[in-house]
Amino acid sequence: MLKNRRLTPNMVLLVIAILLILFPMLSGNKYYLRTITTLAIAIVLTSGFRLIALTGQLSIAQAAFMGVGAYCSTLLIMNLGWNSWICFFLAGFAAALTAGIVGFITLRIKEIYFAIATLALNELFRLIWVEWDTLFGGPAGIVNIPSPDPILGIHFGSVVSFYYIAVLLLFSATAMMLRIERSRIGLIFSSIREFDTLAASLGVNLIWEKVKAFMIACFFAGMAGALYAHLQHFISPVDFTLMDSVMFLLYGVIGGLESVWGPAVGCTVMIFIPVGLRLIPNYNPVIEPIIFGGILILVMRFCPGGLVGLFQKLVSDLKKTESQKGEQEHAAA
């Protein structure tokens, strides 16, 4: 009786995947398509943040790595005329390479010191983009970024095509995260977080494992950046600020960093709340941060495991009462 009602995570995933694929055919609303595209990018970034957090490091520079990808692919396409699909991957590699170099140096730093170091890094990248205007276009950024090159006669440029690229990116990033989660690396990552010195004494090369997580996260951040550049047709340093990096952290916390699904849930809720609020007439968006801040405080106070943690707790409570009920019925019979 319980069994046929039970949904496995894989089934949920499948349903969501099918819904996402069918969505553009069901609704032509460009605004929602664009919102979901942005959402997919945010989830990719937040999942990356979470992956790094699994190794016990708090990276507040994910937006900067997204920017590295965005600028890399844009410059290669616009200055050298390279194929945008190659550049799409190169953006990921560029971000991962940067992360590798930076990570190898900075991942020895721990806790709040590391958080502040990454925060400084994000600002450093932004200032480089602002000041090196001959290459990066300065504060005005780079305009007229073309749509991706066509493949096999399929043109990319419509909102729907970006939507599908974003969903594809989201799927591959999520698949990667799931694989890591269920593999040996995932175990190593969390053992690093729990017992830094213990893991070291067991012969896990901490720095290398941390760098690996950092590079994987930044690879997807870079690809998301390249996609973002095509989507907006315009990038500038204000697209990849410290505040954006902090946002990915906050989305992750609201969803719950313990679970792979946390980032997706957190981003979805926090991106759709403003969408809903804007339907209210005479709505003043200035109050959005107040609502957001309030949610953060409430989540931390009352369900530190985030929304996913809250959900899991509710489900386990429900199961408990149900099994108790079952026992009672048994006893009665």
């Binding site: 708090l58 140096i105 900075t106 020895r108 730093i109 721990k110 806790e111 709040i112 010191y113 958080a115 502040i116 170091a117 925060l119 400084a120 890094l121 600002e123 450093l124 200032l127 480089i128 602002v130 000041e131 410290l242 902090v246 952290l249 906050l250 916390v253 003043n284 200035v286 109050i287 959005e288 941060p289 107040i290 957001f292 801040g293 309030g294 949610i295 953060l296 405080i297 931390m300 106070r301 530190p304």
Partner: protein, 290 residues
């Protein structure tokens, strides 16, 4: 570099260094005693600025009175926030960091809603007006006075922490809260005291710089961030480290800004921070736990 420029850079360095130290001191005390990471600390600076604007510029109160009033109010607000929001997360850096982000968002948006996203000017008090000439260089009296007050506060805080009974208790609690409570110290009260001092110092910095710069809802962002850079560079929990790091950053900003531009000066600050952390992962004077 002319003498005038040199002296001006010197004054600006000490001024921005001093203001940073004032903000960062509270941050490092709070972090040391409660292990609370308060990203909203810069907002106390902002509220101090708005206090002086509201009481002094808008309602014509005497400057000193306006300063005392706004600083006290911000201090009380700080204690209220500590009691209501941070207390359950003492000794727990990550959740407190998230809570503080929430507070930051709320404060910033709330002030923006109340006073608009514009810069508000605070007039210079009469007593601060004018220039002083020292061997050929002109110095603004206002900046000199602010520097003197700032230095006096920093020294006062140092003496308080090093030589008073309450200061001893603060150091004991930040060293080992359980052992401190066995000596009869109330960790709750010491935490509130730390938060009070921290928010008062930040608010004072806001009040003092109000007439020099402008007052706006986002004015706390940059100093709040830089204060973190200061305490991390100096080593968390080290008062001396905070002073040294604050002066280093003040001097980089003060002397770098005129020849290279503020952005390059900021780049320099971050580069110095990163290089220091690579070689000294716990900052200049920080030491590892246990």
């Amino acid at each position: 570099m002319t003498l005038q420029m040199f002296v001006q850079s010197l004054i600006n360095s000490i001024l921005s260094g001093g203001v940073l130290i004032l903000i960062a001191m509270g941050l490092t005390i709070i972090l040391g005693i409660m292990k609370v990471v308060n990203f909203a600390h810069g907002e106390f600076y902002m509220l101090g600025g708005f206090g002086i604007w509201w009481f002094f510029a808008e309602h014509g109160l005497n400057f000193v009175l306006a300063l005392i009033l706004s600083v006290t109010l911000v201090g009380i607000l700080g204690v209220a926030i500590e009691r209501g929001l941070f207390k359950p997360f003492r000794e727990n850096a990550f959740p407190s960091l998230i809570i503080s982000c929430g507070i930051l968002l709320v404060f910033r948006a709330a002030t923006q809603l109340s006073f608009g996203l514009v810069d508000h000017a605070v007039p210079t008090p009469e007593a601060f007006k004018g220039m002083i000439q020292v061997s050929g260089a002109f110095l603004s009296k206002e900046r000199l006075i602010v520097i003197c007050i700032t230095l006096a506060l920093i020294i006062g805080l140092y003496v308080f922490i090093k030589f008073t009974k309450a200061g001893l208790a603060m150091r004991a609690v930040s060293d080992n809260p359980a052992a401190a409570s066995l000596q009869g110290m109330s960790v709750d009260r010491i935490s509130s005291l730390a938060f009070f001092i921290g928010s008062v110092l930040a608010a004072t910095a806001g009040c003092l710089t109000g007439p020099i710069f402008y007052v706006s809802p986002t004015m706390g962002a940059e100093p709040g961030l830089m204060a973190f850079v200061v305490i991390v560079l100096g080593g968390i929990g080290s008062i001396t480290g905070t002073v040294i790091a604050g002066l280093i950053i003040g001097f980089i900003e003060g002397f770098g800004a005129i020849p290279f531009g503020t952005n390059y000066a900021t780049v320099m600050v971050y580069v110095v921070l990163l290089i220091t952390l690579i070689f000294k992962p716990m900052g200049l004077l920080g030491h590892a736990e246990k």
